[in-house]
């Protein structure tokens, strides 16, 4: 009776005495002289350590090794909270995230060109596109109107003002004159628009669905299906027909991180199309709006170390 009880007690007491900050950083492990980054904690999505445009890229392109990687969420409120609370000093958010401005965070410039063109791009089953070729012009017109400012504004209305994505989408389509109907284009063909849990992809999916519905398609919405790992197989198997993707991330997903994406949207979309053709998928025209990884610090941290670009993190540790 004594041993397990004592063990439990020892562990609990251990928690009390060492507290939470027992994950002492050892900045100089790398051998080379310590950089600022090696004294900072980096927070990002759990998959970040294995993604070419996250930790791997930060290390290979910028030579940055952080003191610790803290798994958070995919550029969501948990990451924002961790950054505001000082639980991490550097974090990964997304360029289209309205909370960067809302919290006065500083997005560090990607001065070495690590990030690739993550422009929003519709990915559709080729079979469905061939059956209704009119879809291409409709979605290309939509993508043409979607600038970075428009995308941030759409995101802000849904997340900060808590408006419903379908209302926001319908209004935006009307404002852009994209809801002008030609029902003969769809002629009653049915199409399933899918989306991950990510609100932005859901807004985009609502936009796609709205345009298609206005033009005579019978649209079924399958939203909040989970992560890309769930949605892409569903697309390939024909459970859904159309999703909103991000050019570079999608390409690196399909080519399993081969590093083929470039900072150029059209070029990246072209390679993406080569990679997904055999899977029966087609990527249409990319929007100018991007949602790329943004390496972000608080205003305080930026001022303290004089940070404006990612390579500033490689300065010697103070």
């Amino acid at each position: 009776m004594v041993t397990p009880g004592a063990l439990l007690l020892a562990l609990i007491l251990g928690a009390c005495t060492t507290g939470e900050g027992d994950q002492s950083a050892s900045p100089t492990e790398g051998g080379t002289s310590a950089t600022l980054a090696s004294t900072l904690r980096f927070g990002g999505p759990p998959e970040c350590p294995e993604r070419p445009f996250c930790l791997i890229g930060l290390q290979e392109t910028y030579g940055l090794e952080f003191a610790e990687f803290v798994p958070l969420d995919v550029g969501g409120p948990i990451t924002v909270e961790a950054l505001t609370n000082g639980e991490v000093e550097v974090a990964l958010l997304f360029t289209s995230d309205p909370s960067i401005q809302a919290n006065d965070f500083v997005e560090l410039e990607d001065d070495q060109g690590l990030q690739r063109a993550d422009n929003l791009i519709p990915v559709i089953r080729t079979e469905v596109l061939d059956a209704s070729p009119g879809i291409e012009d409709l979605l290309n017109a939509l993508s043409g109107a979607l600038t970075q400012e428009e995308l941030i504004a759409l995101n802000s209305r849904v997340t900060v003002d808590e408006e419903a994505p379908d209302d926001v989408a319908a209004e935006w389509l009307a404002d852009q004159g994209l809801d002008q109907a030609d029902e003969s284009i769809g002629a009653g063909a049915s199409i399933v628009v899918g989306s991950t849990n990510f609100y932005e992809q859901e807004i985009l999916a609502e936009l796609y669905a709205g345009v298609l519905e206005a033009n005579g398609f019978e649209v079924e919405r399958r939203f909040q299906l989970g992560a890309r790992e769930v949605v892409v197989p569903a697309l390939e198997s024909g459970e859904i027909d159309l999703i909103a993707e991000y050019a570079a991330t999608a390409l690196e997903f399909f080519n399993e991180g081969a590093g083929e994406a470039t900072p150029d949207a059209a070029e990246t979309a072209g390679i993406l199309n080569e990679r997904i053709a055999e899977r029966g998928l087609t990527a249409l025209e990319a929007a100018t709006a991007t949602n790329q990884n943004a390496i972000v610090v608080t205003r305080e941290t930026a001022d303290q170390y004089g940070l404006s670009a990612i390579s500033d993190l490689a300065q010697p540790a103070p």
Partner: protein
Amino acid sequence: MTDQPLISWEWVAENLDLIAERLVEHLALTGIALAVGTAISFGLAFVIYRRRWLSQPIIQLTGILYTIPSLALFAFLVPITGLSLLSAEIGLVSYTLIILIRNILAGLDGVPPDVREAADGMGYGPWGRLWAVELPLALPVIVAGLRVATVTTIGLVTVTALIGQGGLGQLIVTGLLRPGIFETMIYVGGILSLVLAVVADSTLLVIQRALTPWARARA
């Protein structure tokens, strides 16, 4: 982030169809798990009833299944059966077994021996006696088990959102992903699943009383 109210009723009003859809998914996930769980449990309980020596291994095994945390159980299944309805249901069904089997057996064991003898005397065969005499008498205890299994399953279904299977947990997860955290979705999902559990429990209690006017409810 801003001082918005805890629950935005405007959002609720505008998203009644989404909420209803998640609620129906939740009910469906729960219903399938309970139906399959009940069927398997009756099967196993009858087997144990006939072959007593099987009781220990079956009870132990289902007991261990019950102890495995839900996230871990789903995690075992995902690499094998994928992020699928099947994974969710295998997990959910596993948790109902020990509760239901224990109560079915306790109910059957609670039938007084003289009642059994009387039934034998009236010419019932073993299965006839089980169906016509013992099961009806065991019903209050069995339904009591079903109530516990129902409440447990409704709670566990919120976790299946983590493997992409919808239900009210999906509202919770989505609310957690929104910039600034969208509390309304989290509370609507959480509170509705609690209400669902309480309503389901009370409904089963009423059914239990209606079905067994001769017995006072034991829980």
